[in-house]
Amino acid sequence: MAQHDVEITISRTGEVKVHIEGVKGKACLAYAQWLTEVIGQVKSRQLTSEYYEPDVKSRIDLHQDLKAEDGAP
């Protein structure tokens, strides 16, 4: 199990800072894309060293599809 942390700071003017932690590789961009769609427009983006680390075999499923992997009997 991988732990994905997101820290969101909503300033008094409504501007939002999003800090996505523990998500390696381009998987974190899926979170970034989703939160951008929810909140508004990107003013700035900073990719940190963890972004460039190789993906672990964790899969984020933002659509929460719970399809059975095997066919039902």
Partner: protein, 160 residues
């Protein structure tokens, strides 16, 4: 650390969601929701007759209040002392905040309208973000209001 994003809020929503945020902003700033739209229209007429009231109008940048059929009650009136704030959907579908009051200068009204607009935006974004986070099975680890009135939310999700 992985990614840090700075996002400018965009308010595109239907009136009920904006009304909830407006009520929240009003409550946080000491205003009370006072009247229905019909009562407000009647008072508007009286106010126009008096012609002594200062008024300041602000538009929420990038906002869009989605039309809802023939709904007409897309207006909220809040009061604090002699100051009145009206939040409404204008003819172009933008969200507009109007501050007025006889005993207040233009500068005071502008400050109040700006403060209300900012708080409304903060409340709207907070409500929307929390709704979305919960729908994606995030759990709130910590949530606090900072000294500068910003809201910090720390959420976590476990992924296989």
């Amino acid at each position: 650390m992985s990614t840090v994003l700075i996002l400018a809020p965009v308010i595109i929503s239907n009136w009920p969601a904006i009304a909830v945020a407006a009520a929240g902003a009003g409550s946080a700033l000491g205003f009370t929701v006072k009247q229905t739209a019909k009562e407000m229209l009647q008072q508007d007429q009286k106010a126009r007759q008096a012609q002594t009231e200062q008024t300041v109008e602000l538009e929420l940048a990038g906002s869009e209040v989605l039309a809802q059929g023939l709904a007409t009650d897309q207006r909220m009136v809040l009061t604090k002392g002699s100051m009145q704030i009206v939040v409404e959907r204008d003819a172009r579908g933008r969200c507009k905040v109007c501050a007025s009051g006889q005993a207040h200068s233009k500068a005071e009204l502008r400050q109040a309208a700006e403060e209300f607009t900012q708080k409304l935006t903060q409340c709207f974004i907070y409500d929307k973000v929390m709704r979305e986070l919960k729908s994606k099975s995030f759990q709130v680890v910590n949530e606090e209001v900072m000294q500068d009135e910003s809201i910090r939310i720390h959420v976590r999700r476990w992924v296989e």
